[in-house]
């Protein structure tokens, strides 16, 4: 987590004003200096992470204390600080410090929400377990260099605390699924690899010797052209497609993620599909010199079951 010398970005007066805005109860014993430290960390993360690309949070390494901009614009910092969720950040600071009153407040207010979100993400049975697994990390049972490290230290106030908790739940859930994917097939791994190798071998053989050589050639061309069309898309367009086709989200869910109405999502998805199709058909006709009938054949073949990495199989053979 990036840090900065106290007072580098946030003056004590500014921190006091934001703490008052956060309306932290006195029993949380949250000092202005402590809150100033949290604000400094948040500002440092925001204005130094520009160069650190996509790092951040619990998974990122500590960034260099040298900010990317020698002196971030004071107005930008002020605007950033004003946009922070001061009340949530104050609660996170107090909980990170282990204040009992703050923890009581957190548990009363956020525990039902955590359970509810856990159930929504992981299902009825695993949801509670998923939510419960967070508490130890939130409290900070893990020690780093002899010091208790609370997950709350990573809350920067840029989002609502609830959303941040949702994101952590989602991260834990996906991590768990991916871990399971990695470990479960270990015993079957060899068999799976053999099957994959056999499949690739048969593909390569069929590519070379099958009378359906034309089919494989067309599919490989189609894949190449389509990959190029996807690469040429705007990131947001590609993201919508991926949410829809890979993650299986509904239009409403995609709209919630990209900040658009579901009708807009639907319209833009359709537009992107048309664009891709135009690109693909244009490339097949002009670059690959396929006739209209061959184009139709491509679509016919694409409807059948076939491995998308056929190009690799064919190129290996060649």
């Amino acid at each position: 987590m990036p840090s900065s010398p106290a007072g580098q970005f946030v003056s004590i007066e500014l921190a006091r004003g934001l703490l008052q805005k956060g309306a932290a109860p006195a029993e949380w014993n949250l000092t202005v200096e402590r809150f100033q430290l949290a604000l400094e960390r948040s500002v440092a993360h925001r204005f130094t992470s520009a160069t650190s690309h996509l790092s951040g949070g619990a998974s990122s390494n500590t960034l260099s204390n040298t900010p990317s901009h020698a002196s971030p614009d004071a107005r930008a910092i002020r605007a950033y600080l004003d946009s922070l969720h001061a009340a949530d950040l104050a609660l996170a600071c107090a909980c990170s410090d282990g204040n009992a009153a703050a923890w009581d407040f957190f548990m009363t207010r956020f525990r039902p929400e955590l359970y509810r979100a856990g159930r929504a993400i992981a299902g009825e049975s695993a949801g509670r377990e998923l939510a419960d697994s967070l508490y130890a990390e939130l409290y900070g049972l893990r020690e780093v260099a002899g010091q208790r490290k609370s997950l709350f230290d990573y809350f920067l106030g840029r989002s609502k605390l609830t959303t941040w908790l949702h994101a952590i739940l989602a991260q834990h859930h996906v991590d768990g699924i991916r871990r399971a994917r990695r470990t479960e097939p270990l015993e079957e791994g060899e068999a799976g690899e053999h099957a994959y190798a056999a499949q690739q071998s048969s593909l390569a053989n069929s590519a070379a010797s099958s009378p359906d050589l034309e089919r494989n050639r067309f599919l490989a061309i189609l894949q190449t052209v389509l990959t190029a069309a996807l690469d040429a898309l705007e990131p947001r367009d590609r993201l919508r497609l991926a949410y829809y086709y890979v993650e299986g989200l509904t239009l409403a869910e995609i709209g919630r993620l990209v900040g658009e109405h579901e009708a807009t999502v639907s319209r833009k998805l359709e537009r992107t599909r048309r664009k891709i199709r135009k690109h693909v058909e244009g490339a097949l006709r002009q670059e690959k010199k396929l006739s209209a009938a061959q184009l139709q054949l491509c679509y016919e073949y694409a409807r059948e079951e076939w491995p998308f990495d056929l190009t690799r199989a064919l190129s290996q053979e060649e």
Partner: protein, 459 residues
């Protein structure tokens, strides 16, 4: 290849391509932003430059996308529950509001039924998705009139129910908009309540006519939970809260008990209003009913649901003819061997090992081992599927809401068929890959003999 087929092929290509692209990422998460950035992104607290940068990353990183995909679900629970709570807040207000609303709806229901009795009932309305093994109601009365909603119901939010139903259903204004499915169904011509379609189609346990049948307490008790679930399936939690138990045919009733129940023309348990209605109908159509009883009994022996249509303006001869047609239709339907459970519509094929199942909207699964294992099929629709027919192990037709008609001719590849009209279809009879007849919610039937290229109104 038709344009729709090309679109479908393109959709499959995109899915494969993007999935393969996602699988190509390391998935280690080393370069991925932490939860604070994901949360800020989700809250749209990032500036434009940051958002663009993370858009690029997320469009290529399956790890982050999977995490983000879970976020709307987590947040959506909040929204849904708050919406539900908000929708029902008004019920927790003054104590008089609930009985007043109930009385208002009772009046509307009474007016609707009185109006309905003056109108002829299209025979097609009597034909709805039905399970071959479902037993018809011992005493059936006409279903909801196709156009009664417009004239008798002041608002689509007010849902008509038989007056002998144990509870009255009122969909509050906010609840009505809670689900597109609900509004879609409540605006359809025939169904008088959202879950009617489902009970006649997706659940296909009984035709809609059964919902107006005289009340049987034990039947209601058994059906209560299932109706609540159906309501929640169709219209989300808001409408589920609004769903009240309705009178339906007992799925577990035996043929013999149902046959013996036929001896009684009017159920003694019917309340006065229903009784007077039944009496008036009885006087007009007693001959037709008597003539049909023997036919119904025969039909029951073969477990074919046959409905009685005591409509005043329909002559006995026409009634008999229409009923004969329905019997034929149900006989055709029996060939499809459709049986549905509460949640899943199962479609049997002539091969007992091969089964189709509609597990959820837009989801069709296939079993090649008699239902032991199921494999999801790709279909280019997320519409609710209400009925299906499989004349051969490889050919299957399914129909659903919003003009959804799908067909497979090879047992794996589903093709979207152009519907005759953008309406909800509740039944399909298929004789093969090219010949099929679909029934819309308003009773109209459309036939094709060229695989859906051309449709004609079936007689």
């Amino acid at each position: 290849m038709a344009a729709r087929e090309e679109d479908k092929a393109m959709a499959g290509l995109l899915r494969r391509s993007l999935a393969q692209d996602a699988g190509g990422r390391s998935g280690s998460g080393e370069d991925c932003p932490g939860p604070e950035i994901l949360a800020a992104y989700f809250d749209r607290a990032l500036d434009a430059q940051e958002t663009a940068r993370y858009d690029w990353h997320f469009s290529r990183c399956s790890v982050c996308r999977e995490q983000l995909a879970a976020m709307p679900r987590a947040a959506g629970v909040d929204v849904a529950e708050k919406k539900t709570a908000g929708a029902w807040d008004w019920l927790a207000g003054p104590r008089w509001l609930m009985p007043a609303a109930a009385m208002l709806v009772a009046l509307l229901v009474f007016a609707g039924i009185a109006w309905r009795m003056k109108k002829p009932v299209a025979p097609g309305n009597q034909i709805a998705m039905s399970r071959p093994d479902a037993v018809p109601p011992p005493n059936s009365v006409p279903p909801a009139d196709p156009v009664s909603r417009e004239s008798s119901a002041p608002s689509p939010d007010v849902v008509r129910r038989p007056e002998n139903a144990p509870a009255l259903e009122v969909a509050p204004p906010a609840a009505a908009s809670a689900s597109r499915a609900m509004s879609r169904v409540s605006h359809s011509n025939t169904a008088s309540r959202p879950d009617e379609l489902l009970s006649s189609g997706a659940a296909s346990a009984q035709p809609p006519i059964a919902q107006a049948a005289p009340s049987q307490p034990q039947t209601m008790a058994r059906q209560k939970n299932s109706e609540m679930v159906r309501g929640s399936m169709r219209a989300g939690s808001a409408s589920a809260a609004a769903a009240a138990p309705v009178t339906t045919v007992d799925e577990t009733a035996s043929v013999s008990s149902a046959a013996s129940a036929l001896d009684t023309t009017v159920a003694p348990a019917a309340p006065p209003a229903k009784k007077s209605e039944a009496d008036s109908m009885e006087s007009d159509t007693s001959a037709a009913v008597q003539a049909d009883e023997a036919k119904e009994a025969n039909a029951l022996k073969t477990k074919l649901p046959v409905t009685v249509v005591p409509a005043q303006s329909v002559s006995a001869a026409n009634l008999t003819a229409s009923r004969a047609k329905e019997s034929t239709a149900y006989a055709n339907l029996q060939q499809a061997q459709i049986s549905s459970s509460l949640m899943n519509l199962q479609i049997q094929t002539p091969d007992p090992k091969i089964l189709w199942m509609v597990a959820s909207p837009g989801s069709i699964e296939k079993s090649d081992d008699g239902g032991k294992t199921w494999k999801p099929e790709y279909v280019e629709t997320r519409a609710l599927i209400l009925a299906g027919a499989a004349p051969t192990p490889k050919i299957c037709w399914v129909v659903g809401v919003n003009g959804t008609i799908l067909r497979t001719t090879n047992g794996s590849h589903w093709k979207t068929i152009s519907p005759p009209a953008e309406m909800d279809f509740v039944r399909v009879e298929a004789a093969g890959a090219l010949t099929a007849t679909v029934t819309a919610t308003d009773g109209r039937r459309f036939s094709t003999s060229d695989g859906g290229k051309r449709w004609s109104i079936a007689k």
